[in-house]
Structures are given as structure tokens and as C-alpha cells.
């Protein structure tokens, strides 16, 4: 755009890019890549040091990438190298359960063979995705990655936004995008308020190695205390996302590995044979945190900074990548028609596009969780009947599968096949 990287009054002290991004996790680099392809110059401000982003050991974290997210990575040129690392999810089995009882008689079964687009999604370890994004971002034309830097102030003007970093460096751009998580400083400094609540639940996350193959099947058990997901990783390994009430989660997390496994084992039975822990164990308090606006003058929010969702359906990263694709498209279109990409009328198009989807998803996951995280006999019977009914209605089921694959709603161009 106009004067890329041109210095202003004090050359060398103020650096100008078309777009500034706070947050160097996954959404930030993905957005930087997409914007670079649309012809923008971008600076990514990352609070973490570079080695933390590059670390290669398996730490137990992984993502369930919806098909739409996988397409985004493919369209950004990343999938060729990631494909071998990813485990396709061929089937999803959902059932109601209570510890020690195994699955209820009726369960939902989603098979990718019912939709024509291919697998419903892929499991990918955090380390592979993180490193691929870092490398691609650093190689992308016009992208600058500032590691170990934090923003201390930001000031929007009629013509753009100026940001001051803790190191004293001053950056200028036409737009500042906050990819800095649910406690987004970018949103706070822009005066955007948040709404939300905790669920009294905490997700326990770990990876396990198991004796028997998973055949690419993902399982979701709805336990009275919260959902338990078993998601297939390459080889005889799976990722476990396990929600418990806060107090119980704290106790379980404090257990040693053998006791932890002993607590986990009865919750999904023995269909995978003997299990062992791989990598670290993590806990994430479950909460909903929605920003009241996704945009402000010269500011846009992406991912958890806009909408921290209950991760019940594994939709956090997928929703974030959908923001990335939508924002990159809105800004790219604005640039090609000569509009000012950081101007509010342009940003409001992004907000309008993403707000509806997000509110619907937040309400759906909220309601879904309330319905399922309950041991009331009446609800339990209702659930079993509902699941039985859905199992018999192919059209409804196909709708669910396409929703889980991220193929519903208005798909951004970067997510189309």
C-alpha cells in the first residue's frame, strides 16, 4: 500500500506497516501470511521469545482442525508439509456415558462417507502447526516478526494507529489487529468491553499412547461432570480433552501419572487397550468471553480476543481461523477497490460477517453443554432418545457433520475447496 515501511519523522525509530498484529500464537501468524498474500506489509508483535515458538518436543497439545481450517492451511501453502503429520478424522462417535458404565445404547455416529468433501477434519499436534506457521510467516514477503515484545500503549488517529512497545520502539500502521487471546490488551486499550462467565468446569488436556489402533475415529462421551473427547493422533496415540468440575479437576491434575491414568481409565473403558501418558498435562478453565464489539476505530479483534468459547466442540482454533480468513478477505477486497483497509466502514463488514456466526456458536455450545453435563434421569432419557432419533435421520445427521467440518455459513474464499 502507500509508503510501505517508509520512516516517518524519526527514521529508524518509527516503523510503518500497513497492518500491525499483536499475538504470535497461531491466529496472528496465519493472518500475517494471508495478508502478505493480499499485498499488505505486516508487523507481528509477539510477547514470547522465538525459541518458545520454535520448540520441537511434543508437549501433549494438539488441535482438531475442521476441514475448512485444513483448506485454509492448504491455501496458505502449509498443508503439503503438514499432511504427513496429521491424522484424518474419519468418524465421530458421540455417546452418553457414566463412569464405569461405558457408552449408552444409543449413540450418534457421524461418518465422513456421508459427506462428499472428505474427512471431517484432522488432528494436528501444536508443535507442528506452530513451527510451520512461524517458518512460513518469516519467509513471507513484507512480514516482520518482533519476538519478545509487548505493547504498552496504542493510539488511534484519523489516519491510522500508533503503537509503543515496551522496548520503546514505535510502530505505525493503518490497522491494529488483536490476536492476543481472551484477555486481549488490544481490546482493553481500545475500550472494548467483554461479557462472559465461567462454567465451573476445567478442561484437562493430555495425550496418551494406547495399545490398540483408533482407526481414525474420534469419540465424544458426555459424562455428568462434563464432556470427554478422545481424538486420534498419528500412530497409536490419542489426544484427550476431559472436562471436570473445577474442584475435581484441581485434584486430578495434582495426581501423579499413575493415579491420573487410574482416574482416566474407567471414564472411557478399555476399547483402546492399555494406555500411557505422553507429554505434559494441561488444564484450561472453561469460560465464555465475548467482546462486545469485534472492531473499533483502527482496531479489529480475531480469535479468542473476540470470542473465547467453551471448547466443548473443539471449535476455538477453527473459529479463530475463520476470523483470519474472513478478515483477510475483507481487507484484501478493500485494498483492490482502493478503500482504506483500516477505515471503520471496512472493519464493520468483517464484524457483521463474524458476529452472527460467533453468537450462534456460543449459544449452541452453551446450551449443548448444559443439556449434556447433567445427570438428571429425565434429561438422560431425553438425550438418549434424541441421539437415537438423530441416528435415524440422515439429513439432520449430514447437517451436523457439515457443521462440525466447518462447512456451513458463508465460507471465506480461503476456506473453499
Amino acid at each position: 500500500m502507500d509508503n510501505p515501511a517508509a520512516g516517518s519523522i524519526f527514521p529508524g525509530m518509527t516503523k510503518r506497516s500497513d497492518i500491525l498484529i499483536t499475538g504470535g500464537g497461531l491466529n496472528g501468524p496465519a493472518l500475517a501470511l494471508a495478508l502478505s498474500r493480499a499485498g499488505f506489509s505486516v508487523t507481528v508483535i509477539d510477547a514470547l521469545p522465538r525459541p518458545a515458538r520454535e520448540a520441537g518436543g511434543f508437549d501433549g497439545r494438539s488441535y482438531a482442525l475442521a476441514l475448512a481450517s485444513q483448506r485454509l492451511l492448504a491455501n496458505l501453502g502449509l498443508w503439503t508439509d503438514l499432511a504427513d503429520r496429521a491424522q484424518p478424522m474419519l468418524e465421530i462417535k458421540v455417546s452418553d456415558g457414566r463412569p464405569g458404565e461405558g457408552p449408552a445404547p444409543f449413540f450418534l455416529h457421524f461418518d465422513h462417507a456421508e459427506i462428499e468433501e472428505g474427512p471431517m477434519g484432522y488432528m494436528l499436534e501444536d508443535r507442528f502447526l506452530r513451527r510451520a506457521l512461524l517458518a512460513a510467516m518469516e519467509a513471507a514477503p513484507g512480514v516482520t516478526h518482533l519476538a519478545e515484545e509487548t505493547v504498552v500503549s496504542q493510539e488511534a488517529t484519523e489516519a491510522g494507529i500508533a503503537v509503543t512497545l515496551a522496548s520503546g520502539t514505535r510502530l505505525e500502521g493503518g490497522l491494529l489487529v488483536g490476536c492476543d487471546g481472551r484477555s486481549s490488551g488490544t481490546a482493553r486499550r481500545a475500550g472494548i468491553r467483554r461479557q462472559g462467565h465461567g462454567y465451573g468446569q476445567t478442561a484437562l488436556v493430555c495425550a496418551i499412547a494406547h495399545e490398540k489402533p483408533h482407526h481414525g475415529i474420534a469419540h465424544q462421551f458426555f459424562m455428568p461432570s462434563g464432556p470427554l473427547a478422545i481424538l486420534p493422533l498419528p500412530g497409536n496415540r490419542s489426544s484427550i480433552v476431559w472436562s471436570e468440575r473445577d474442584a475435581a479437576a484441581r485434584e486430578i491434575q495434582a495426581l501423579d501419572a499413575a493415579e491420573y491414568l487410574a482416574a482416566l481409565r474407567p471414564r472411557f473403558g478399555d476399547f483402546l487397550g492399555d494406555i500411557a501418558l505422553e507429554g505434559d498435562r494441561f488444564t484450561y478453565p472453561l469460560s465464555l468471553s465475548l467482546a462486545e464489539r469485534f472492531v473499533a476505530p483502527r482496531v479489529a479483534l480475531v480469535g479468542d480476543a473476540a470470542h473465547g468459547l467453551h471448547p466443548i466442540a473443539g471449535q476455538g482454533l477453527n473459529a479463530g481461523l475463520r476470523d483470519v480468513a474472513a478478515l483477510a478477505q475483507v481487507l484484501g477486497e478493500a485494498r483492490r477497490r482502493g478503500e482504506e483497509p483500516g477505515a471503520l466502514p471496512v472493519l464493520e463488514r468483517y464484524e457483521q460477517w463474524r458476529r452472527f456466526d460467533t453468537a450462534a456458536l456460543a449459544m449452541a455450545t452453551d446450551g449443548f453443554n448444559a443439556l449434556f453435563s447433567n445427570d438428571s434421569p429425565i434429561l438422560r432419557i431425553g438425550r438418549d432418545l434424541g441421539m437415537g432419533l438423530m441416528s435415524r435421520l440422515p439429513r439432520l445427521r449430514r447437517g451436523f457433520i457439515r457443521e462440525a467440518a466447518g462447512l456451513t455459513g458463508e465460507l471465506p474464499e480461503l476456506m473453499r475447496g
Binding site: E333, R337, G338, A343, L344
Partner: protein
């Protein structure tokens, strides 16, 4: 009559700034124009790119092109054209718009030549352009043929005119006058005189009689669910846009 902001009265400057803010407020008085603008720009940009063989993904793709916007208002079309690299002249018969548009261009860091006047006056001054943007004007002029002839005269050989207006039929009466002026209050009552609306065939005929060759026409269609405008190849029933060229 080139307008730079040469007033030194701070009260005047503040007034222009306030009016510029009003023109450029997406939720303000000019909301309907802001909603239509992306769609108009898509059409304009793609027509210019096709006619002059430019790549819209590149840097300043309209560099070297001289573009005139007739009825420029606050500069909603002039600024994007300037940002894409064109040398832009904006003309408006309402003198008050000129310093307002100039103020905003200055805030945006863009150089645009805004003038108070008319297409006919520019012809007399001997001005020539590669592109003439003639958007939502023809339905307001007293003598459309004389006006379109002036547009023809303002084009260099091989030049392009993009002209949009409103169709004349019961639906356009319902949408543009009852809907936009009376119900939604998007536009002040009396903005449009339905009898002056022009059908696409009539416009093509007028353009041809003015000496230009009509080459394309599309509808601007409003979707009340998504609250967005889009281009349509078939539905020209209310708002529509045309492209025509002057023989090389």
C-alpha cells in the same frame, strides 16, 4: 477554480471537518452511499482494469490514468481512485462539498483536485480524461442528452465512462422513492423525481446518441437479509450501472 483549503477562518475549517466527518460516517446521513460503495467500486475497478489492462492486485494499478468524478460529494469515489494511483479530479455543482472533500483528502494523505463546477464547464476548459465516473447524476439533470454529450467530450479517444442511475418502473418507484425516501428515510423526501428515472434501454440509446459505445450493464441489487448490495447480470430493475467507451 481549483480548490485548496485556503480559508484561514478556524470556525470555517472546523465546520468543514465536521461535514467531512458526516460524509464519511458509515452510520450517518450518507449510510446508503456507504452501503452501495463497495459494490459500485467493484464495478468501476473491474471495468477500468479490463479497459486499460491493469492488475488490481498490484501496487497503484491506476497509475498514469486521469479520472474525473462528476458529482463527487465528499469524495467517496475520488479517494479510492487516488489510492489506486490515478490522478483524480472531482467536480461538484454544490460549492459546499468542495472544501469538505478537500479537507478529508488532506486527512487521508491523498492529493485530489476538487473543483466547484459542472461537466459542461470542464468541456469549455478543454479538460480530457481517461475515465469519467458519472454515478447517480443523470437522473438529476435537466437535459440528459446534453449532459452525456459533455461526458463524451470530456473523454480522450479510447476513454471509458461508467454511468449508474435508477430504472423507471413500479418496482423502482416502490424501492427508490417509497422505500428509500419515505420508509427508511435513507434519503431526504424529494431527492428523486420518478419521472426523470431512465430505463437501461433508454440510457443505452442516449449514450449512443452522445457518441459513445455502450459495452456493458449490470444491476445493483440490495439484499435485505445480508443488508448488502451485489452486482447482478440479470436484475437491472432498480439501480443499475453501465460502461461505455469512446472510440479510439
Amino acid at each position: 477554480m481549483t480548490a485548496t483549503i485556503n480559508t484561514t477562518d478556524p470556525a470555517e475549517i472546523a465546520k468543514f471537518e465536521a461535514m467531512a466527518a458526516e460524509w464519511w460516517d458509515p452510520q450517518g446521513k450518507f449510510k446508503p452511499l456507504h452501503m452501495l460503495n463497495p459494490c459500485r467500486l467493484d464495478y468501476i475497478c473491474s471495468q477500468i482494469a479490463a479497459e486499460f489492462d491493469r492488475d488490481l492486485a498490484g501496487e497503484r494499478p491506476f497509475a498514469g490514468l486521469r479520472i474525473l468524478d462528476i458529482g463527487c460529494g465528499g469524495g467517496l469515489l475520488c479517494e479510492p481512485m487516488a489510492r489506486l494511483g490515478a490522478e483524480v479530479v472531482g467536480v461538484d455543482a454544490a460549492a459546499g462539498n468542495i472544501p469538505v472533500a478537500a479537507t478529508h483528502a488532506q486527512q487521508s494523505g491523498l492529493e485530489i483536485d476538487y473543483r466547484h463546477g459542472t461537466a459542461e464547464a470542464l468541456v469549455d476548459e478543454g479538460e480530457r480524461f481517461d475515465v469519467v465516473l458519472n454515478m447517480e447524476v443523470v437522473e438529476h439533470v435537466a437535459d440528459p442528452l446534453a449532459y452525456l454529450t459533455a461526458c463524451h467530450d470530456l473523454l480522450k479517444p479510447g476513454g471509458l465512462m461508467v454511468c449508474s442511475t435508477i430504472n423507471r418502473n413500479p418496482k423502482s418507484f416502490a424501492m427508490a422513492i417509497v422505500g428509500a425516501e419515505w420508509v427508511m428515510r435513507w434519503l431526504p423526501k424529494g431527492t428523486h423525481d420518478w419521472a426523470k428515472f431512465i430505463t437501461p434501454d433508454e440510457l443505452f440509446d442516449l449514450i449512443a446518441r452522445a457518441g459513445l459505445e455502450p459495452v456493458d450493464r449490470k444491476g445493483f441489487v440490495f439484499n435485505p437479509v445480508t443488508w448488502q448490495w451485489r452486482l447482478s447480470a440479470r436484475d437491472l430493475s432498480v439501480n443499475y450501472v453501465t460502461a461505455s467507451t469512446r472510440a479510439a
